[in-house]
Amino acid sequence: MSLSDKDKTAVKALWGKISKSADVVGAEALGRMLVVYPQTKTYFAHWPDMSPGSEPVKAHGKKVMGGLTLAVSKIDDLKAGLLELSEQHAFTLRVDPANFKILSHCILVELATIFPKEFTPEAHLSYDKFFTAVALALAERYR
């Protein structure tokens, strides 16, 4: 299920639109995840506030989107491009990789609410594949 040229084109095309409201998308998706999958809050117990729209959530959503923008730019070699981020997630953050799928789903839902027309079944397909590939690259250094 590797990314075809068609997938890469689709991802980059919609990302152009997404990046204009990247901060909002990231914050909303993260906020959504913390509400829909409360077990993910265990990674953020050190935040004073985990509610949607709070400062820590907004700041972190921005960070996550920055990482995804990097991934889009390295879409031709995600393993190499995300090596540092993988090491960070593996050795410092130690996020269970099952959570990558959870956050991916929340980003897809957010994209559907913000871009209902552009998030066609074909765009959804390419993004689902892209996030799966990113998750795989992020898990590269885990063991």
Partner: protein
């Protein structure tokens, strides 16, 4: 027995009263067939499923999508005993249709995305949580009679 809060009951009733079954059902099934193409294995007699456009325009997909959504109605009307409500349908999906129950989750994810696109900002995290809990109970009930 599944415990539902008042918010969850109200949210599910509200969503199903707002959505157009003949729009959401077909869109969700078509999306599932496009995003997870292996699900097409169950629809060999549906004719042209060669690409996303063909799938989205296929009348048999549309008809079946609507049927599925009306099937969800039964759960909406019997939230306190979804397991019993779907016992027969579960046997059907297992013994006659031979559907891998993992596919129920795939379709339910696509339905979540289609409903999210319909409701936009109104599809908050809390609403999503209630909707996904509802679908998870349905999926579990549909898989109950498999052995």
């Amino acid at each position: 027995m599944v415990e539902w809060t008042d918010f969850e009951r109200a949210t599910i009733a509200d969503i199903f009263s707002k959505i157009q079954y003949e729009v959401v059902g077909p869109a969700a099934l078509a999306r599932c067939l496009v995003v997870y193409p292996w699900t097409q294995r169950y629809f060999g007699n549906f004719g042209n499923l060669y690409n996303a456009a063909a799938i989205s325009g296929n009348p048999m997909v549309a008809k079946h999508g609507t049927t599925i959504l009306h099937g969800l109605d039964r759960a909406v009307k019997n939230m306190d005993d979804i397991k019993a409500t779907y016992a027969e349908l579960s046997v059907l999906h297992s013994e006659k249709l031979h559907v891998d129950p993992d596919n129920f989750k795939l379709l339910s994810d696509c339905l979540t995305i289609v409903v999210a696109a319909q409701l936009g900002k109104a599809f908050s995290g809390e609403v999503q949580a209630a909707f996904q809990k509802f679908l998870a109970v349905v999926v579990s009930a549909l898989g109950r009679q498999y052995h």
